[in-house]
């Protein structure tokens, strides 16, 4: 179950990153091609409206940011100022780290709740009631986005979903820290495949012409 959640989380942010890039890329190519005076093609391209690309890209990145932030808790990428904490005696350091984790949990919990309230009041209430057939009364329908014309509450639900997920991740990290004393830790220096790249790949540093060993022949 846990593994499943992990994979879904990773899949979502990977997909959003790639898809947003492709969308903006296609929008640029479309604009470029539509500027070319090719009869027939030009008209058809101009008729195809790509103005929603920017908006969609922004929303995809907002979603990516919210879920990625939760993934970041798990991968330990959120860096704080640890200059003081790391110099404290060990037991105190543990307490400091716990305070940090608790702060994270509280903050993301509050934000999640604020976000959920906001989303509920700005359209979800209406949508859910309409869906199950309850009389909505004077509950507002909620705004829609300018270009895509999607209800904003769907877009904005990234905030409660992402924040609650993040909150959950903080609890997970905290629990692990209490039990095992381990913290996730992001290694910026780690690059996969450096070693074999250096040894195997050709290039001036390694081919005969300029290499120190090779230059003696």
């Amino acid at each position: 179950m846990m593994k499943y959640l992990d994979h879904v989380e990773e899949f979502i942010i990977t997909f959003l990153m790639g898809a947003a890039t492709l969308i903006i890329f296609s929008a640029i190519i479309h604009r470029f091609l539509a500027g070319l005076p090719i009869p027939g093609l030009q008209d058809r391209l101009i008729a195809f409206n790509f103005s929603w690309a920017q908006e969609l890209c922004i929303y995809m990145f907002v979603w990516m940011a919210k879920f990625g932030a939760a993934y970041g808790v798990r991968s330990g990428i959120h860096v704080g100022v640890d200059v003081l904490v790391n110099r404290l005696p060990d037991e105190w350091r543990k307490k400091g780290v716990l305070v940090a984790i608790v702060c994270g949990t509280i903050f993301t919990g509050i934000i999640g709740t604020l976000g959920a309230t906001f989303v509920w009041e700005n359209g979800m209430h209406y949508a859910v009631y309409t869906l199950v057939g309850i009389d909505v009364g004077d509950v507002p329908q909620g705004p829609i986005t300018p270009d895509l014309e999607w209800p904003t509450w769907i877009i904005y639900s990234a905030v409660p979903l992402g924040s609650y997920l993040m909150c959950f991740r903080f609890m997970q990290v905290g629990w692990r820290f209490v039990r095992l004393g381990e913290l996730p830790h992001h290694d910026h220096a780690h690059v996969d495949g450096i070693e074999e790249e250096i040894l195997d790949q050709p290039g001036i540093l390694h081919d005969g012409t300029l290499h120190k060993g090779g230059s003696t022949k």
């Binding site: 942010i13 990977t14 959003l16 990153m17 947003a20 890039t21 492709l22 890329f25 640029i28 470029f32 890209c57 922004i58 990145f61 907002v62 990516m64 990625g68 932030a69 993934y71 970041g72 991968s75 990428i77 959120h78 860096v79 704080g80 100022v81 640890d82 200059v83 003081l84 790391n86 110099r87 404290l88 005696p89 060990d90 105190w92 400091g96 702060c103 994270g104 509280i106 903050f107 993301t108 604020l114 976000g115 309230t117 906001f118 904005y156 913290l183 830790h185 910026h188 220096a189 780690h190 690059v191 996969d192 790249e197 250096i198 790949q201 001036i204 540093l205 390694h206 300029l210 120190k212």
Partner: protein, 463 residues
């Protein structure tokens, strides 16, 4: 950042000493809070939270929440709205794209071709490989917006090669740590995007403005390297023929084409900065997978995931920094700071000294984007009133960030280089000193010579 390493470097304090520190800090913070009123409370709260090691983003957000809740009547719902609208700007989206492009370039063999070319041009000088490392960093920085990516890309190839050729690892690592910081100065740069967004400065002008200072810094670092290498008699590479140079250049030209895309695209108005970033991500993907073939399609998801992770972290800080600047403008803090600074009659020269000192100090505890997000809104209004050019001010902040990246305790370049070279942070700290000093000299030049930064964008008509 690696907590373990930091602990290894600095031994923990004894309990009485730690207690004295903690009490001292709390007394100072409470004093600040009481003395300066609301402004004091905001900053005391922020500092207190940060010192517990809470991630910067969360410290910013919690400060805002607790301040608004406890001391003002602003409805908390206003915060919720800000959370949604905080990063809904297309300009900000340049950041994830540049991170993605940087990751493709790092994994995709672009760096190695640039190093090959640099070695063929400059390898026969004293300390040739080190000089080539600097040139390669500068070339890579032209297309990549992150200094960490630059250190990884160039360092992981140049450092082992330098050791093979008889250079001490410390020398090589020292050069690359500092030269890697060119990554955020030359053309595209993530801190510049952050600055541009938080101060409404033109991104294109900022990109171009970093070019000449970047060349100057590469030259200065090169001279120091050359001098040290000559004195210590480090090996030289054999001189390459022009045919070899041209062939090395042709191999590296695919990577350099990105400069044309970014600068040409933004300059001619074909792209916005964000679109240029997206184009460079796609282009970097294309050359890594299909032209250089150093990366297979199977590696793509991992690169995407890593980039998403890094971008999400930055975007999360930005969201919370937007909240924080909402709080600051609600309390009218930037305006008050500006008036206070102007009231001191500091003049431009003294003001810039203060700015540099504040930023260098901040560089001791935070990474560049957080520093810019917190300090730019505070310092920017005062700088404008003193008639400092916004682009020049941006480059100055950028140069400060470079210095912060290269020294402990939080200099990321240092940690990355330590990961590649397996040297300890303490050793590296000593190793970077000659170049770090050079960078401080460079910082002074940038600070007091505005036309160095703003001449080129002016000449190109971008500002």
């Amino acid at each position: 950042m690696s907590t373990e390493e930091a602990i290894n470097v600095i031994p923990p304090m004894s309990k009485p000493r730690a207690a004295a520190w903690l009490i001292g800090i709390s007394v100072v913070l409470i004093g600040v809070g009481l003395y300066f009123g609301n402004i004091g409370i905001v900053f005391a709260l922020l500092l207190a939270l940060m010192l517990t090691g809470v991630p910067v983003s969360i410290a910013l957000g919690l400060t805002v929440l607790s301040f608004l809740y406890l001391l003002t009547n602003v409805p908390i719902e206003a915060v919720a709205l800000k959370l949604f609208t905080g990063i809904e700007k297309f300009e900000i989206m340049a950041i994830p794209f540049f991170i993605l492009a940087g990751n493709f370039l790092t994994h995709g063999g672009v760096a190695r071709r640039m190093i090959d070319f640099a070695v063929s041009v400059i390898g026969h000088f004293h300390g040739g490989l080190a000089l080539a490392g600097i040139i390669a960093c500068a070339m890579f920085a032209l297309v990549c917006g992150s200094s960490v990516a630059t250190v990884v890309a160039i360092g992981s190839i140049v450092l082992p090669a330098m050791v093979q050729n008889g250079y001490p690892m410390r020398f090589g690592a020292g050069v690359i740590v500092c030269a890697g910081s060119l990554g955020i100065l030359m053309l595209p740069s993530i801190p510049k995007v952050v600055y541009a967004v938080s101060t409404n400065t033109s991104i294109g002008a900022l990109f171009v403005a970093g070019l000449i200072p970047g060349i100057l810094l590469s030259f200065m670092l090169g001279v120091v390297t050359w001098y040290l290498a000559k004195k210590r008699n480090y090996p030289r590479m054999p001189k390459s023929s022009w045919a070899q140079r041209i062939s090395a250049f042709r191999k590296s030209v695919w990577g350099l084409m990105l400069v044309v895309i970014i600068v040409g695209g933004i300059y001619s108005g074909v792209f916005t900065a964000t679109e240029a970033a997206a184009m460079s991500a796609v282009y970097a993907f294309f050359i890594s997978v299909f032209v250089y073939k150093d990366m297979g399609m199977k590696d793509v998801p991992r690169v995407l995931l890593n980039s998403a992770n890094m971008s999400a972290m930055l975007l999360y800080i930005i969201t919370n920094a937007v909240l924080f600047s909402f709080l600051m403008s609600h309390e009218n803090i930037p305006q008050m700071m500006a008036d206070w600074i102007l009231g001191k009659d500091l003049g431009v020269v003294a003001f810039l000294i203060v700015v540099n000192l504040v930023l260098l100090l901040a560089g001791n505890v935070m990474e560049p984007s957080s520093i810019i997000l917190i300090f730019a809104p505070i310092l920017f209004p005062a700088a404008m009133k003193l008639g400092i050019d916004p682009v020049h001010f941006g480059i100055l902040i950028d140069a400060n960030m470079e210095v912060g990246l290269c020294h402990p305790p939080v200099g990321l370049n240092l940690y990355v280089a330590s990961g590649i070279s397996k040297l300890s942070i303490t050793e590296l700290t000593v190793a970077v000193l000659p170049w770090l000093m050079t960078m401080v000299v460079f910082l002074i030049i940038v600070t007091y010579w505005p036309s160095l930064s703003i001449w080129l964008p002016k000449a190109m008509g971008m500002m």
